[in-house]
Structures are given as C-alpha cells and as structure tokens.
C-alpha cells in the first residue's frame, strides 16, 4: 500500500512538472509568434519587447532572434551582444556567426567580421558564403593573392556561380595573371552575356 502511495506521488510530481514545462513552452511559443507578427509589421522594438518577456540568457534561439531583431532596429551594439551570447552557447553553430556579421558590417567593424568568417571556415572549410565575403574583404584590401585563393574554392565547387567567377577574374587580373583572367572573364560572359564588369575587365587586358 505504501509503495502504491509513493508511486502515485511520483506520478503526480512528474505530471505537474511536464504540465509546467508544457505551459512554459506555450508561453515561449506565444512570445515568438507575437514577435513574428510585430516584425512583419516592421515594429522591431515591439518584437524585441515581446521576446524579452520570456528571455532566458541560456537559450540559444531567443538570443539569436533578439540579435536579429536588434539588428533590424539598428541597435547594433545590443545585436552583437545577443549574437555573442548565442555563439558562446553553441560554438560550432555557424548561423550565429553569420548573424553577428550583419551588425558588425553595419558599424564597419571589418576586423571582427573577418574573424567570424575565419572561424566559420575553420568549422566548415568549404562554406561558399564565408569564402566569398572573406574574399571580398581581402580584395578590398588589395590582398589579391588571398582573395583569389578563396574565390577559387567557390569556382571549383560552383563553376557557374557568376559572383565568384567575376571576382576571381578581377583578382587574377590585379595579380598580373592575364591569361587566367582572360579565361575567367570570357567564362563570366558565357554565364552572363554582355556583362559590363566582364567586358570592362577584358578591355584592361593587354
């Protein structure tokens, strides 16, 4: 009889716990739903406030979402802070780093943007987006050798990706590799006939 009583108590506790958790999940889901509606309406501050009511510092999803909404609300420092928390919570998740790159780019913190892309490439070495944008950073700094290395990885993976092909073509041209550049500009013109950037590159070839 005593055993039955203890079992009943344990079951009741488990049920209460499950029910509290279900209720809490429902509250979180409702807050997220409200925040999506506010975001759709362009009311980013309201969306942030909807989420803050259920904010839990150790919850990855809420931090990522607050990072994104703060970015949309042009609260870049706050946005970076939320993304940084998310990165600490899931260090191997590259989406948090891609998210963080947006507010960092808005304040032109290119050193940190570069740092995130390098980290992403450590986790996912063939990541096309990270390769491309890190390549663009090197290209803007006139570091054509490093830029070309990254664009080349993308071109090997996606030979018809116009953006990587044209950037590789320009990088090769500035590296003084005219023959390579010519092939690439011609290839870009096949992908996008009459492309002004490729035609301009062809004109610069000696």
């Amino acid at each position: 009889m005593e055993i039955l009583r203890k079992t009943a108590i344990a079951i009741s506790f488990a049920f209460m716990l499950f029910s509290a958790q279900a209720q809490s999940s429902a509250v979180v889901q409702a807050a997220f739903t409200k925040s999506y509606v506010s975001e759709q309406a362009g009311n980013y501050m309201a969306a942030i406030s909807d989420l803050k009511s259920v904010y839990n510092v150790s919850d990855y999803t809420t931090n990522i979402r607050l990072g994104w909404l703060s970015y949309l609300a042009k609260q870049y420092t706050e946005s970076i802070r939320y993304y940084d928390i998310a990165i600490k919570l899931k260090p191997f998740a590259i989406e948090a780093r891609f998210g963080c790159v947006k507010p960092l780019s808005a304040i032109e913190s290119w050193e940190k943007v570069k740092g995130h892309y390098l980290q992403i490439l450590k986790i996912d070495p063939k990541n096309v987006t990270a390769n491309y944008w890190l390549g663009v950073i090197y290209y803007n700094r006139k570091d054509y050798a490093n830029a070309a290395k990254l664009f080349e990885i993308n071109v090997n993976l996606y030979p018809l990706d116009y953006d990587s092909v044209i950037m590789l073509a320009w990088s090769r041209l500035f590296q003084g590799k005219q023959a390579d550049a010519k092939v690439l500009f011609n290839h870009a013109l096949v992908i996008r006939p009459g492309d002004s950037s490729a035609l301009s590159g062809m004109k610069q070839l000696k």
């Binding site: 042009k74 870049y76 420092t77 304040i107 032109e108 290119w110 950073i137």
Partner: protein, 395 residues
C-alpha cells in the same frame, strides 16, 4: 540664408531628438552633419555621449578623430583614429590620418609604421619612399660652466643622421666630441708651492643604433657606441653595447634597457626600466620615470633614479623638467646615445628642456642642466651649469 535656416533647423531637430534618445542612427546622422558643416565641438560632444551609451562605430571614431585633428589636438585625434583602425585595419583614410598625427606629434616611428600600410599609389603621391638615406639630421652644441678652479669649462658637440631602411627598420649614427682641461694630482714642490699638472682631455665618440618597429607602439633597438678618450698624451678606448625595447599602451609607456660598457677603467653593466603616462588633461602633461641599476667591476653597484615632467605649453612648444639622483658615472642614457664617463661623477642633476616644432620638418631644442659634481679624488663638490642648443631637421 534659406539654406542656413534649413541647416539650423535640421541640427536643432536632431539635437532635440538626440537628447531624447541616443542610438546608432541619430549618432550617425548628427555626427555626419556636424562633420559636413565643421561643427567640431558639437560633433565631439555628441560622439562622447554616444560612446558613454556604448554606441561605437568606425565612422564615429573617424569623425571624432578628424574633429580633434582640425582643432590641432593631435594626441586626441591619434587616440580616436587608433580606435577606428581596430574596426578596420585596411582603412586607408584612417592610416593616412594616423600618419599625419604622428608627424604632428613628432612621433616619426609611428608615422613611418603607418606609412608602410598605405597603398603604393598614395605613398607615391605623398612622396614617401621606402628607403630614405637621410631621414633627419640633428645637431647639438653644449657649453658648460663650473665653479671649479681645477676643471675648465667643457664643450660638447654632436651631429647625428638617421637612415630609414624600410618602414620598420632605421639606422641612426652619430659622432661627437667632448673637450675639457683637468688639473690632475697637485703635488708640492721643494719650496712648498703646489705644482699642477694640467691635462687637456678630449673624447671622440661614434654611436650606431638599429631600431626595428614590432608594431606602431613597440620598438626594439640595439647598438654599439665607441668612445676614444685622450687625457694629455694618453689615449684609451671604450666599447659600449646596448639594447632595449619601448612600448606604448594607450596613455602609458614602458621600456627596458640593458648595456655593457667596457673600458680601461673597468666593466660596467647597466639594466633599467622606464615608464610613464600622459595625463588626459589640457596640455597633455606627462610623467616619465627611469630607474637604472648599475653594476661595476668588483660588484660595486648603485641605483640611478630619474624623473621628468613635461607639458605642451603652447602651440608646437613643449617644456620638460627633470631631476636625476644617484652617482652618474659611466652611466648610459637616452638609448645608448649619451655615455656620462667624465672623470668626476655627477651626484645630483636637475634641468629643463624646451622643444619647439617650428615647422613639421624642423625642431629647435634648448636645454639647461645644473649638476652637482664630486671630485674624483676627494669628497668635495663643485657645481656645473650646462647650456645646450640643438636642431633637428627632417628631410
């Protein structure tokens, strides 16, 4: 008129807005408008408030840097541009202003370092070359007077030339001459009269130092200094080897040095630390402390303490006062440039120096030093005053 009114209303409205709420957008808009209209004080006040609210971005630092630059507060401008470079190391505009800040502050190493990161095309346009056989020439002439009947008034002159071997590597060479007549060992004659032996003393020196910039703030140096002392007809040489590093972190600077002087009289090892701070007050008042420990042959050691205080006292005019305590004999100062190896040790020194940057290329230096000196053969003192005039000419 209408344009001006619109502008005023714009600034007025955004300033009211800014008072209510400080965010990225308002800070960016206001500081940009201030930048376009040359409202430097307002730009700086909005910028400081934004930074207090944790709003910090590259353009803000660049605009604040430029505002300070226009107001000729190059130290503050440099500090803002240094924050901007942390956001984006590849920003040509930031590098360029860091270069100009260094030039205006007389910090040539800092300028050269940043010049090395500017694109070749820009450098060409600014006439900055990688190798510069004659980067600057400096000359100093020094006349000392003393109240001793046994020592004549010394004269010291020095000329140096700096060569840039790249953006991070430079070579400085200098030759100098010191002359003084010294009365040695008075002896009594048979009739009781003292006989003095007057010994003309000269010392010719050659100094060479190689400096490498590890970063815009940290430099390593090493070198050699030869002294050839001639007392009357007797000549003896001395070799000095020295090295060290200096670094700056924000308003603080720190350094370490070591040297080894070997001459006929013995061997002298010196190791020292230096540190200082530039206070964030008007005039950029700075303090610089140097402590050196000297170990002579036979393990005789003594400590030398030196303290300087300086400030920007006028447009392009800097003044510095200093005091040195300890037995200055065979003491190596100023990164191995000066070797104080006169016969009589200095036991107390105080002085003042004026630096006047007449143009960005020319600096005049005036220096006064009061020395309390002790005769090498007894415990009596005499006093010496030194007047120095110098010029540094950059090419």
């Amino acid at each position: 008129m209408r344009k001006g009114l619109i502008l005023f209303l714009f600034i007025f409205s955004i300033s009211i807005h800014a008072k209510q709420k400080i965010d990225f957008q308002s800070t960016d808009s206001i500081t940009y408008q201030c930048y376009l209209n040359g409202e430097w004080d307002y730009l700086l006040s909005v910028g400081k408030e934004a930074l207090d609210h944790d709003i910090d971005f590259k353009r803000l630092r660049q605009r604040m840097g430029y505002a300070y630059f226009v107001k000729q507060d190059y130290f503050a401008a440099k500090s803002q541009y240094q924050k901007a470079i942390e956001f984006d190391e590849g920003d040509e505009e930031t590098r360029l202003y860091l270069y100009y800040c260094g030039l205006n502050l007389g910090d040539d190493d800092f300028s050269r370092y940043h010049a090395g990161s500017i694109t070749k095309e820009t450098r060409k346009g600014m006439n900055i070359s990688t190798i510069k056989p004659i980067d600057f020439v400096d000359f100093e002439f020094n006349k000392k007077t003393n109240n001793s009947t046994l020592r004549s008034n010394p004269i010291y002159s020095r000329i140096g030339v700096n060569t840039q071997l790249g953006y991070r590597l430079s070579l400085y060479q200098s030759v100098s001459n010191y002359s003084q007549s010294v009365v040695l060992n008075p002896t009594s004659s048979s009739n009781g009269m003292d006989i003095y032996s007057n010994a003309p003393t000269t010392q010719k020196e050659y100094h060479v130092a190689l400096k490498y910039l590890l970063s815009s703030h940290t430099s390593l140096y090493m070198g050699y200094h030869y002294v050839n002392t001639v007392v009357d007809t007797m000549s003896f040489g001395g070799n000095l080897y020295f090295g060290g590093f200096n670094t700056k972190i924000d308003r603080f600077h720190f350094g370490m040095n070591a040297s080894w002087l070997k001459n006929m009289m013995g061997s002298y090892k010196q190791i020292g630390v230096s540190g200082g701070v530039v206070l964030p007050v008007e005039g950029n008042v700075y303090f610089h402390t140097v402590i050196n420990r000297m170990i002579a042959s036979g393990n005789k050691s003594n400590t030398i303490f030196s303290q300087s205080v300086g400030a920007n006292i006028g447009r392009n005019l800097w003044a510095e006062g200093n005091i040195t305590l300890g037995n200055i004999k065979n003491y190596v100062d100023n990164n191995g440039l000066y070797v104080y190896n006169t016969l009589d040790p200095t036991v107390f020194r105080t002085g003042a120096t004026l630096f006047w940057n007449i143009t960005p290329k020319m600096t005049l230096i005036g220096n006064y030093i009061f020395d309390q000196k002790q005769y090498e053969s007894n415990t009596n003192y005499y006093y010496q005053q030194s007047f120095l005039g110098g010029i540094k000419w950059k090419f």
